[in-house]
């Protein structure tokens, strides 16, 4: 099993498209960092708006490495599913396209094992992508902008809020958020792999995955009560931004943040369960379908 995994990882590492994702993340993060270094104050002005009429705020302190990482993740984690689909969507269909799938299945390896190994390789790739994001968006930002308290701008219901998390209470939230993001992106990997089983070239499953993510994301953001109640809870895209829950700090009745607390851990935990259920269903379907599939290429 481990040898098979090594082979799959070797295959992924030899594909040029693997590095497109890393390059894209590097480019986006660096552009963000340069833009904020040059004129982060304007962004802060936009977010703080009327608050500035009532309060004096040291905006230079507010634009720090932790805040930068949050802003970057806010943007990037919506695009990263596309990057995950690039690899996971190619897992089976890529072999079929090159004509190596039949050859691969002549080896004394069960189809279930093959799917699980390919899925594991896609998950490792996803985690590597997240680790790279953490290095670039968090650690590089901390190096450039320094560390300080973090401001979270949030809309809750129809109310806008500003949460402040002290600098000594942030890092564990990022580790937890990256862990959550890994689970969320694994759903995308599982979806892309399922679609990959049906195709004989990589483009189809990659585009199909991206289309499904886009459609579901749009539906997740439609604020119509009937969709809120009956559709959103079933869409995995409603839970992709659940990592933010780790930054919604719990507060006292006076509105004072409680260090080390989460406002709504049950909501995050339930989101994780739902995402895990998606992974199991998608992966299980992939295994069942692949086991029954007549491999002709």
């Amino acid at each position: 099993m481990f040898n098979l995994l090594q082979i799959e990882l070797y295959k992924i590492s030899k594909r040029p498209r693997t590095y497109i994702a890393f390059a894209a993340i590097t480019a986006i993060v660096v552009i963000f960092q340069l833009a904020f270094k040059a004129d982060g104050k304007s962004y802060m002005d936009l977010m703080l708006q009327s608050v500035q009429d009532s309060f004096d705020i040291d905006k230079s302190k507010a634009i720090n490495g932790y805040f930068m990482c949050y802003i970057i993740l806010n943007t990037l984690l919506i695009q990263v599913p596309i990057l995950v689909a690039l690899i996971a969507g190619d897992a089976i269909s890529g072999e079929a396209n090159m004509g190596t799938l039949r050859l691969l299945l002549t080896k004394p390896v069960s189809r279930t094992k093959l799917i699980l190994v390919k899925f594991a390789a896609s998950v490792i790739y996803t985690i590597m992508l997240l680790v790279w994001m953490a290095v670039m968006a968090l650690f590089l930002s901390l190096l450039i902008f320094g560390a300080d308290d973090m401001l979270i701008f949030r809309v809750k219901g129809d109310e806008s809020l500003i949460l402040q998390i002290t600098s000594d209470d942030i890092m564990w939230r990022y580790f937890a958020a990256f862990g959550y993001a890994a689970v969320a992106l694994t759903v995308i990997a599982a979806l892309a792999m399922l679609l990959s089983v049906f195709a004989e070239n990589s483009i189809g499953p990659i585009i199909a995955t991206v289309c499904i993510v886009i459609v579901c994301t749009v539906v997740s953001n439609i604020n119509v009560p009937i969709i809120d109640k009956h559709v959103k809870p079933w869409l995995f895209t409603s839970y992709l931004v659940g990592w933010k829950g780790f930054f919604y700090i719990g507060t006292t009745a006076d509105g004072e943040p409680i260090k080390g607390s989460l406002e709504n851990w049950p909501a995050i935990r339930n989101s994780l369960y739902i995402l895990a259920a998606h992974i199991l269903v998608l992966l299980g379907s992939t295994v069942v379908i692949f086991r029954r599939k007549d491999i002709l290429s």
Binding site: M47, Q49, D53, Q164, D254, A267
Partner: protein, 231 residues
């Protein structure tokens, strides 16, 4: 029993009468003279901000003051939200300069203390301050409460508790109430995680009033404060 029920109101009337008898101009002058003992100070404190849309921790702050009215509040660590108009955290803010008319507004109570109320009307028509009301303890000549109404920034209210530094009219605790504007984030920039929690109606009603509470731990008085601090 009957004697007691007659004596008590009589005593109250007498005390109130005595308080009224004290000239309000003199009382304001006394309060001002007490404040005049301090040319500058540096104080450490803990600031607790209570605004509905702002969830911020208690901040350790340093407060700097230099006569006549320069004041700066700096957070010792981290990002801080210092209410604008916090300059009036200095009680002298309401009594700065001589360009006002003093009107005697009778007596009132701040906590358990009977105080004299003076309304200060600025003589300058272009003054940002429309009206200041100060509540002065006639025995100690300390301003226990003040309310300042401005043209642009609404009404600020200040309540002070004195103890260790009463001699210099420097409070141990200040509660600063102010108006806040509605805060609305631009749509579509936050992509929030909907965790199902909602806002209560009570919160919405509280939204326009803010409160900052500073508890001072120590003062360094008249030892000089650099001008750099106020830049």
């Amino acid at each position: 029993m009957l004697r007691k029920s007659i004596l008590l109101p009589l005593l109250l009337v007498t005390v109130t009468g005595m308080l009224q008898a004290q000239d309000i101009n003199q009382l304001v002058a006394n309060a001002k003279a007490k404040l005049g003992k301090v040319n500058d100070y540096e104080a450490k404190g803990r600031m607790k901000t209570n605004v509905t849309f702002l969830k911020v921790p208690v901040a350790n702050v340093k407060v700097y003051f230099k006569a006549p009215s320069r004041m700066k509040i700096k957070s010792e660590k981290g990002v801080s939200f210092v209410p604008k108009g916090a300059v009036s955290i200095n009680a002298g803010g309401a009594l700065g300069g001589n360009g006002y008319t003093i009107i005697d507004a009778g007596t009132d109570k701040v906590g358990n203390t009977l105080v004299r109320v003076a309304k200060l009307l600025p003589l300058d028509e272009n003054s940002e301050v429309v009206l200041s009301t100060v509540y002065i303890d006639p025995i100690t000549s300390l301003i226990l409460k003040s309310r300042t109404t401005t043209k642009e920034n609404g009404t600020f209210e200040l309540e002070m508790t004195f103890s260790r530094y009463a001699e210099f009219a420097l409070p141990d605790k200040v509660i600063f109430s102010f108006n806040t504007k509605d805060y609305k984030l631009p749509k579509g920039v936050t992509f929030d995680f909907d965790d199902g929690s909602t806002v209560t109606q009570a919160n919405k009603e509280k939204q326009k009033k803010g409160r900052a509470e500073i508890t001072f731990s120590n003062y360094i008085i008249n030892k000089g404060v650099s001008d750099e601090v106020f830049r």
